[in-house]
């Protein structure tokens, strides 16, 4: 077990317990540090600070950014009515500790980490997804999370070992390396995978030297050859002759038990067969080296000269160099890791890049406001990569609590002094409809590990010998029902999960199918990093105008927005409820002329309005 590295052993399923001890010492103090730097920059540019937002705008913005949906009428009213000091700071604390946070930030990390069913390699994303959910629930430090992902190994469907999904979802190891660098270091080195990069310094050899850390890491879904020969092969051959479906069930069920990530790196890599540059020959041995920063010591068992003399396919013995790669990649001393992280989180909260493109940073650049970047990096390090502490700092800042700037409409210029006007993420739009349907929109967000057909069957398979697998293949549920029956059992094991139409988007798991509304709104397909889409298209708009919202919300008397108007006779009061429910504000005087319209028509219009789908 030594080969799995220390960190993996800490991956166990833990119930996350909601405790309301104040999380963060002095978030406002940290926020002031940011504000001083922003203020100094505004001074230097002789630009007036943006106006501060009112409580209504703050409440809506924070709900959207912290927990991914608009506040319900009651949640809004409660905040507005609160007359005790520090109410904004208290709401920040409350929301960061809520179930809604777990839902919203799961969506964020699941997109970055591209949680997706990729079939062919029998990579089912359920366990991976649960690992991310648990990491968010337990507020695992981000550098630890990244380390565990890069260093993951062992069985794919073993509950708690879902970090393996990060490797298993890729078809090719070199692609995986390029994606890991882009995910955690914010750099695009994929060009160097096949040729020297014409725009950056990276050469193909640089890429292969980095790949040397994780060489011979691989996903194998079937049992290892020795195990196969002595345990499974005979019955496999028998079933193949007997019946195709039984053979398939045997193959798939054995895989669920055995599918694993093997290998931890040899520290050597060979140039590709078509290497074209003068500084090397195809199949030349490359020794592991980092792109920048300090080279971690590796415990080589073989010299490069020894390996040179061996055959093309030989990469040397394993020396656990992948763990060193994970350490280098997530090091607090890395010039890229923390910078890429704060760049990413600033972008998520403020809507703009702090330093540069999320996947296209360079080592030197520090953005348009280097002092701010440096400060945010320092705050992230001081917080030991606790994402909630970092977010709390941003949310408490005057910069965050400033009026949103419509970009491209000058003056004033955008100088990293607060959020910009931007469209809400797809899941946030879909989840905001829930705030109009029910007063408990987060009720069904999971608080513990959820089984799926694969983890459930893995669990059962621990007691299964080869004859049990044969039995299962012949007398079991059959090919068509194999996954369905296990999913059904897993569902029962999970207990009550509530009606699907009251789920947050994050509760949809692979077996539940797509959340069609989120897809229409541009939810990421998770094929690529950061591929969610916030652009309009005709199917999306047709849905908003003519789709299910009519029966779900607009004309649905049991929806929360209508229940909140029950017994309210005065038309203006009713309209105020509509405005507050959908736009989280009271109507302006200029809007009072719209009060004469039918209630459902106004609800329709507000739901279709830009103010609803954009964050301001």
């Amino acid at each position: 077990m030594g080969k799995m590295g220390k960190a993996l052993k800490s991956v166990v399923i833990v119930l996350s317990i909601c405790v309301s001890v104040p999380l963060f010492a002095d978030p406002q103090g940290r926020a002031r540090q940011i504000d001083r730097i922003v203020a100094a920059e505004l001074d230097r540019l002789d630009q007036a600070p943006r106006s501060e937002i009112d409580d209504f705008t703050f409440c809506r913005r924070l709900y959207l950014d912290a927990i991914g949906r608009i506040p319900t009428l009651d949640e809004l009213d409660r905040f507005i009515a609160d007359d005790q000091p520090e109410k904004r700071a208290r709401l920040i604390e409350e929301l960061l500790q809520s179930k809604g946070y777990n839902s919203h930030w799961y969506n964020y990390w699941a997109d970055l980490l591209r949680v997706k069913y990729v079939g062919d390699k029998l990579h089912h994303p359920g366990n991976y997804s649960e690992w991310i959910k648990e990491s968010v629930r337990s507020n695992k430090a981000y550098d630890q999370m990244a380390f565990e992902l890069v260093n993951a190994g062992g069985e794919l469907y073993k509950p708690g070992n879902g970090a393996t999904g990060f490797y298993a979802r890729e078809p090719m190891p070199l692609d995986h390396l390029a994606n890991s660098v882009k995910t955690f270091l914010g750099m695009g080195i994929e060009c160097a995978q096949c040729h020297d990069d014409p725009y950056e310094d990276w050469t193909q050899q640089d890429f292969y030297k980095l790949a040397a850390f994780s060489s011979k890491t691989y996903l194998k879904v079937d049992p290892l050859p020795e195990d196969e020969k002595t345990t499974y092969a005979e019955d496999r051959a028998m079933l193949k002759q007997k019946d195709f479906d039984e053979w398939i069930v045997y193959r798939e069920s054995v895989r669920v038990k055995h599918a694993s990530i093997y290998g931890n790196g040899t520290g050597f890599m060979r140039l590709p067969h078509d290497y074209q540059y003068e500084d090397g020959e195809p199949f030349d041995v490359m020794t592991a080296d980092v792109l920048f920063g300090e080279m971690p010591p590796l415990n080589y068992k073989l010299t490069k000269a020894d390996l040179d003399s061996l055959k093309n396919k030989n990469f040397g013995p394993e020396i656990n160099s992948r763990q060193s790669l994970a350490g280098w990649m997530t090091s607090r001393d890395s010039p890229m890791f923390t910078k890429a992280t704060v760049n990413r989180l600033w972008h998520q909260i403020m809507g703009t890049e702090l330093v540069g493109p999320l996947g296209g940073l360079t080592e030197e650049e520090m953005g348009d406001h280097p002092a701010l970047t440096k400060k945010l990096i320092a705050i992230m390090k001081a917080a030991d990569y606790d994402v909630k502490i970092f977010l709390s700092t941003l949310f408490n800042s005057r910069a965050y609590q400033s009026r949103a700037l419509p970009l491209g409409v000058e003056p004033p210029a955008y100088v990293l002094d607060g959020p910009i006007v931007r469209r809400l993420p797809a899941e946030v739009i879909a989840d905001s409809f829930l705030s109009l349907k029910t007063d408990t929109p987060d009720k069904y967000v999971a608080t513990e590990f959820k089984w799926d057909g694969f983890t459930h069957f893995y669990d059962k398979s621990q007691k299964m010998e080869v004859e049990d697998f044969v039995d299962y293949s012949i007398k079991g549920p059959g090919r068509q029902a194999f996954q369905n029956r296990e999913e059904e059992e897993a569902r029962k094991r999970n207990g009550e999960s509530g009606p699907k139409d009251l789920w947050r988007v994050s509760s949809y798991r692979h077996h539940d199918g797509n959340h069609e509304v989120a897809v229409l709104m541009g939810q990421s397909t998770r094929d690529l990093i950061d591929s969610a889409n916030r652009e309009p298209d005709i199917p999306q708009i047709l849905y908003m105008m003519n789709g299910d919202l009519e029966g779900d919300v607009i004309a649905q008397s049991t929806a929360l927005i209508h229940r909140n108007m029950e017994g309210v006779e005065d038309q203006s009061e009713r309209m105020e409820i509509i405005w507050k429910s959908i736009l989280s504000r009271t109507p302006q005087a200029s809007e009072e002329r719209l009060f004469a319209h039918a209630q459902d028509d106004v609800i329709w219009a507000l739901l279709n309005s830009n103010e609803f789908r954009f964050s301001k």
């Binding site: 979802r169 078809p171 692609d175 193949k240 195709f244 849905y543 105008m545 003519n546 319209h597 103010e611």
Partner: protein, 411 residues
Amino acid sequence: MINRRDFIYRAGLSGMSLPFLNAASIPAPTAKAKSVIYIFLAGGLSQYDSFNVEVDKTVLGKSTIIDSNADGVRVSNYFPTLANHMDKLLVLNSMQTNQGAHPAGIYKMLTSYNPRSSITHPELGSWVNKSLTREQDSLPNFVSIGRGRAGTAGFFPGQWAALPVQDPNLGIDFAERNRAVGEGKFNKRIDILDAMNKGFDQDYGTKDTRSYVDTYASSLKFMNSKDIDAFDLKKEDANIVSLYGKDEFSRSCLLAGRLVERGVRFAKVNLGGWDYHNDLYSKYPANANRLDKGLSSLLTHLSQKGLLESTLVVVSTEFGRKPEVNPNRGRDHHPDGFTCLMAGAGVKAGQIYGTTSSDGKHAEENKLDVIDFNATIAWRLGIDPAFEENTPNGRPFKLANRGEARKELFA
């Protein structure tokens, strides 16, 4: 060292990042096809139980051979109707791909590239959409009909993806007002919406908010346009409708024909379910019958309307099936030597192009890789198959990868 972003920026100023302005993309006057109807058979059609019967008898399994209306072209007994239309079809019996699993095979066939996790490539239909769409076009130029992979724009902006029509009988989702909402009521709603958006735009308007306002306008235009009739099969001439059966695939073909008549450039029709690893001969006939009838109706329809000269009809699949029938009476995947079809737009109809070895194991004469197949389609539409576009971060990709048009397929 040139910074990547500087490079893209500078290239943009000189027009390099806007290659659709380049002459190469503008259809050459020699284009012989205006539109493509692309029937995709996901799962892997068995070539030896359909259109490649010129192999050893043992390879054919339970299939028998029947003659067609084209000299020297024979087909399997599962295609009795199409046998009377083979004079309109070119059979490509030497197709090759490098992918043997479904998702990767489908991806390769439709995009010309191997799947990678650092990039997604546009489907051929999306390239066609982006290359041939003109401002005056009132219908989308890439429509995907039927359940299955809809038609992704890959690294292109989403506007170049296929407009999906899941069920040909229902048309486009939500294109009609909700039944509970009359026209007057709907218009009132739009008025309130306009008022709300004007207010928001004053304080917070950006190009993104305006893009939404514009898309509402085009969606309304779309809802109200006569062209949306193109998606309504109830409006089709009864004589044409009667050429087709009532099953979903036939109706999808009818819709594709109707769309092409209205000028849509690329209509994709999905017919899946071909992955018969077991009991092929009990399960396959029903699906083969759908293809037999639906494609025959479509060819008749296009001929009657005089559209076959300007429409390239393509039938493709991600790979074929093995020459051996396995112990479960099915056939497993086989990427080396499978079969696709083409009709119309001047293709050498009534012929067979390419062969497999007589044992059915390999493509032999006139091997045709899927990238060359895709290049040929693009070329026939007047688009240069080597036409190149950059991804947002500056990686260049060609329409048909390294594929070259096989011009000899056309008279």
